[in-house]
Structures are given as structure tokens and as C-alpha cells.
């Protein structure tokens, strides 16, 4: 079972692409909206080592930004596709 978590904001177009892509692949994910939970920004920066969004965690492995190939590789690694 793959666990996907996305740090995002409602305006961020790359966050939208990540969510749309996962939805089309029937992958469930949790989302932390940094507008609603600004206190989580520090946690995201510590995990990812940087400030830009989206940050995606796939079974705790970090993907910084909308990087389809990296996301695909991790989904495959954890048997989600």
C-alpha cells in the first residue's frame, strides 16, 4: 500500500497537476494545504530541505516539485501502478 502526501496551496498550478495526475491513476493521497495549515510549512521545509511547493511524499520518499518521471518511479517501486 502506497501512502502519498502532498504539501500544496490552492493557487499552485503544479500542485494541481500532481493531484490531477494521481487522481487519473486512481492513487489516493492526503493533502496539506499550506494556506489552511501555515504551521505545517516549517515541517515541509525540514522534510524537503527547501521552500518551494509542491512537495510530495511517497512512502516518505521526497519529490520536490512536479516531476512526473520521479513520481512514476516511486509509484512503481511501491507497487501502486
Amino acid at each position: 500500500m502506497v501512502k502519498v502526501l502532498i504539501y500544496s496551496s490552492p493557487d499552485c498550478p503544479y500542485c494541481y497537476l500532481v493531484k490531477d495526475y494521481l487522481t487519473k491513476k486512481d492513487i489516493q493521497f492526503e493533502e496539506i494545504d499550506l494556506y489552511e495549515q501555515p504551521e505545517k510549512r516549517k515541517e515541509m521545509e525540514e522534510i524537503s530541505g527547501q521552500k518551494n511547493i509542491p512537495v510530495i511524499l511517497i512512502n516518505n520518499e521526497v519529490v520536490n516539485g512536479w516531476k512526473k518521471e520521479k513520481i512514476d518511479k516511486l509509484l512503481e517501486k511501491y507497487g501502486a501502478v
Binding site: 499552485c12 503544479y14 494556506y35
Partner: protein, 307 residues
């Protein structure tokens, strides 16, 4: 292998409009795109697209997309074209996973944000430096932020940053801002924004995070430093034409040279639309118009092949 009349490559305003027009001409059409985004998707606010006095780019593109899928058109989303080959009177388009053939092609691959190519740009990406204002502006609440680039995007971004940053510096290489006059008026009215023109940005500095921009005042040749917490780069775009080298004629900027009456390229059967072509102005409304024209010209071309 699946055969089409027309393959459109690209999912921005130009490609989407071409798709709508082609499907209404009953062309068997495939649209391939690595994502539905384009430059429009990155705009925080659009105020010059008729019918939408104020809309953000993501929402405008969603409207375009929903309009597109009401039509009869096949779409391969999240697929990247890796090669276009010319065969006898047709074309073969290869993606990472599949191959398709068509009699005509519309290239609408758009453009990507330009980078500065200066020292420490890569080092500070995500550590104070960002190319996506609507993604990352909120990370700089109450901070000093710079925007590099005095065109419409840079000025619009600086104004957008007023919601978040405490001080904003806008740096432009030329002596004057190149944005629309209405934006120029607005930015010079903002006491929180300091406009610095004639500034050649030389490098970024900082320890773990970006803390300083070093630039040359072009008139005096004096080297100056600006202490900031964040920086957004909005210096224009470069055309996505890697695929097209050797296939169609490009200008010195790498843009596809186009016949503006038909949107035809130097290669018979290949048409082009949007920011990837050599029009001087890159505007959403121009991209959609070019998409329509490219589709109509493709239709005439295909009819000509059948007669």
C-alpha cells in the same frame, strides 16, 4: 498503428483552440500533451482576455479544457512526444510509450520560463529562489523580496507580492519597464515597491539560503548589493523547440518561422501556433487565434490532399 488526420502537440491555449476547431471540422484529431498548463497556467491574474475581465490562469485554462472535451477529440494527457518523423506524405509521432501517425501536425508546444544562467541560481532554487510566484509567494510573508524582469509578468508578480512581502524590489535590465502602460502606472503608485531599472543581475549570494542579489548598475557600471529573503525570476520565455530542430526552420531565438497568413511552417503539412512561433508578441488571445488559424489551414491542406 492508429492513423489520424491531424495530431496537435501541446495543451496550452493554442493547442486547445486548435483542437476545438479541428474537431468541429470533423478531422480525426489526436491532441498529445505532457500536461494542460502552458504559460497561461502560471499567471496569477489575467485582465486582457476578452470575456474574462479578471481571472487567474489556472481557472482560464480549466475553462479552455472543459470546452475542448465537449468536442470529439482524442486526448493523450501526461504523455511527452519524444520524436517526430517524416514518412511518405505523413508523419509519425513517438511518445515514450506509443506511436501515432497523421497527415498533418500542429506544433503548439509553447515556451518555458527562461532562467538567468548566473552564479548560484541552481544552488538557491527552493532556498529563496522560485520561478513560480503563485506557488511560492506565501512563503515570503513579511519578508523582503525581489522580482527580476520588468515585463508584464514581472510587474504583475510584484503587484501580487504586495499581499505578502514587506518590501519589494523590481529589477529590470533595460532602462525602462517593458510592461503595459496601465501596469507601469500601477507599479509606480506603490510605495512598497522599489523599481530599479538598468540593472544587470550578476549573482546570488547567501549561506544556506538566498540573502543577497549582486547587480551592476549599467549606466555607472557600479556594483551594488541588495539584501533580500526571496527572489522570483520573470525574464520571459524560451520556445520549446528541441523536437523540431532539423524538421522545420527556426529563427535565431529558436522560434519556429511561420507564415502568419496560414500558420504554415517550412515543412509542408506541419503548422504551428502559440508561443513557440516567431510572432513578436506572446499573448493568450494571440495564441488562441493562431490555434484557430492553424486548425483551419490544416483542414484546407488535408482537403487538398484528398482532391
Amino acid at each position: 498503428m492508429e492513423q489520424y488526420d491531424l495530431i496537435i502537440i501541446g495543451g496550452g491555449p493554442a493547442g486547445i483552440t486548435a483542437g476545438i476547431y479541428a474537431s468541429r471540422k470533423k478531422l480525426k484529431t489526436l491532441l498529445i500533451t505532457k500536461e494542460f498548463l502552458g504559460q497561461v497556467g502560471l499567471s496569477s491574474k489575467i485582465e486582457n482576455y476578452p470575456g474574462f475581465p479578471k481571472i487567474n490562469g489556472k481557472d482560464l485554462l480549466k475553462n479552455f479544457y472543459h470546452h475542448l472535451i465537449q468536442n470529439e477529440i482524442e486526448i493523450k494527457n501526461y504523455e511527452e512526444v519524444v520524436k517526430i518523423e517524416e514518412l511518405n506524405n505523413k508523419f509519425r509521432v513517438k511518445t515514450k510509450d506509443s506511436k501515432f501517425e497523421s497527415l498533418a501536425i500542429i506544433l503548439a508546444t509553447g515556451a518555458a520560463p527562461k532562467k538567468l544562467a548566473i552564479k548560484n541560481e541552481k544552488k538557491f532554487l527552493g532556498k529563496g529562489l522560485s520561478y513560480c510566484l503563485i506557488c511560492d509567494a506565501k512563503a515570503f510573508e513579511g519578508k523582503k523580496v525581489a522580482v527580476i524582469g520588468g515585463g508584464n509578468s514581472g510587474v504583475q508578480s510584484s503587484i501580487e507580492l504586495l499581499r505578502f512581502a514587506s518590501e519589494i524590489y523590481l529589477l529590470e535590465y533595460l532602462e525602462n519597464l517593458t510592461c503595459d502602460e496601465i501596469l507601469k502606472e500601477e507599479i509606480y503608485r506603490q510605495p512598497k515597491i522599489k523599481v530599479i531599472t538598468g540593472a544587470e543581475v550578476l549573482r546570488f549570494e547567501g549561506n544556506k539560503e538566498l540573502k543577497k542579489i549582486v547587480f551592476k548598475e549599467r549606466k555607472t557600471k557600479e556594483i551594488k548589493e541588495l539584501e533580500i529573503d526571496g527572489c522570483f525570476v520573470e525574464i520571459g520565455t524560451k520556445p520549446n523547440t528541441e523536437l523540431m530542430k532539423g524538421l522545420v526552420n527556426l529563427n535565431e531565438k529558436g522560434e519556429i518561422i511561420v507564415n502568419p497568413k496560414t500558420m504554415a511552417t517550412s515543412k509542408k503539412g506541419i503548422f504551428v501556433a502559440g508561443d513557440v512561433c516567431d510572432f513578436s508578441y506572446k499573448q493568450i488571445v494571440l495564441a488562441t487565434g493562431q490555434g484557430a488559424l492553424a486548425a483551419l489551414s490544416s483542414y484546407s491542406y488535408l482537403k487538398g490532399l484528398k482532391n
